[in-house]
Symmetry: C2
Subunit: 263 residues, 2 copies
């Protein structure tokens, strides 16, 4: 099967112009088929603040009301996505920017929860990835740059977690491609000591993951990120790596990042 690399970048890379520029230069140099999935970063939060739109958290989880959705769509699909595409095009990478609504690439359903109304948040449907359309784009020499906004197929856009979106795309594309999912951020992988960037684990399996969560060594935002990574590795994605954005060209994992393995 042909190789396909799916790279996910997080907010801290997007928020820093130098990191983003350096990352995009490396991304251009990746050979073969590739897809970039990006999240949002602090731009959406700061725009909401400037517009005086209060951001509601319920039990630590952000609620996406209609105004907040509009901001996410503007910032993720507009400002971030199109500036990334323009930068990649300037380096002869034939990027096209998409959200899940474009070509019905990623369909989701509005999250339902017994107690919390999360608002316009979408969970990717089991068969929500349009593998045929995505494959056609790749075969046409296009590099999809995908922002984490999806649609419900009935005209409504929905805010979706970028790590989940990247993992779901990776799983779905694994039926036809030899997929590597590379989740990169501003740290050298999964760290045993968050303050020490040299403390990264070369490999993480489910048992060690459970133990480290138990001890509180892996906590907070790393948990959903790693849950998505393990889900991908259990569901047919050949290689799943969590690494620093600087390491995407370095093919010597696990030296530069944490390889996520299913057992």
């Amino acid at each position: 099967m042909e190789k396909l690399q799916i790279i996910k970048i997080g907010g801290n890379i997007i928020d820093d112009p130098n990191s983003l520029r350096s990352f995009l230069a490396d991304f251009c140099r990746i050979e073969g088929l590739k897809i970039l999935v990006h999240g949002g970063g602090k731009l959406a939060t700061s725009l909401a603040e400037r517009l005086g739109i209060p951001q509601t958290l319920v039990e630590g989880r952000r609620i996406t009301d209609a105004d907040t959705l509009d901001i996410a769509v503007m910032v993720y699909c507009g400002l971030i996505n199109k500036n990334i595409v323009a930068a990649l095009q300037a380096s002869q990478c034939n990027a096209m920017g998409f959200c899940g609504a474009d070509g019905n690439l990623v369909k989701s359903q509005k999250r339902t929860h017994a107690e919390i109304d999360f608002g316009y948040v979408g969970d990717v449907l089991r068969d929500g990835i349009n593998v045929k359309q995505m494959t056609a784009l790749l075969e046409a020499g296009i590099v999809p740059v995908i922002s984490a906004i999806t649609h419900d197929g009935a005209g409504t856009l929905l805010n979706t977690n970028a790590d989940t979106m990247a993992a779901k795309i990776a799983v779905a594309m694994s039926a036809s491609f030899d997929v590597s999912l590379i989740c990169c951020f501003e740290k050298n992988g999964v760290l045993l000591d968050p303050e020490n960037d040299e403390s990264h684990l070369p490999v993480l399996n489910p048992q060690t993951y459970a133990e480290l969560k138990e001890k509180g060594i892996i906590s907070k935002g790393m948990i959903p990120k790693l849950d998505n990574a393990f889900e991908a590795t259990r569901s047919g994605v050949r290689t799943v790596v969590v690494c620093h954005a600087k390491a995407i060209l370095n093919r010597t994992y696990p030296d530069h990042g944490t390889l996520i393995v299913s057992r």
Copy 2:
């Protein structure tokens, strides 16, 4: 040659949810190859006001500074474009939203002017339309929905007039397709009396256009719109029509709109 319809909608249609919904329902029913080009409307202006970003006009022409460009990118490529795409997808129209940077579809150059610095405004280059990529999208069954943001090929996004963009795309695509350019807005075409929607001209040629401009009957925003329309009709676009957004399915121009003819 295969028929291709390029429909341009203006701000007044976009600003009114009912008009937009009705237009999109009609747009879905257009048979054959089609492209939608859209402008911005009042959303960008109101967002700039809410953010306290002053909008500068020099000699009646808007200046696009860096902040204003960001707003245009957010509103045109994000909010408007993706909501249109989601609505079309909900009606089984396989829309994909693009700006000029995506797939290098429309390349422009920053406007240079002896006295006025227009800022981040781009004029479409003579060979700026990527006909090959646009054709590939159409042949793949995709309906491009294009916002009027372009790029300079060096990483910078630029604000571009939507009428000009639609006309340039129409001209370039005319080498391979039998193109109709349908510029629609909230009036029944070119009116002899702006207050009377029944006063539309069935046909407009360059001589009558010059006379009506001279008399001040055609003025202001209609002039650049019609200049683009005449440029298109002179440059190989088979049919150029200015009409009401309600009339796009009615194939009996000039009864429902003004047919622009080159002589």
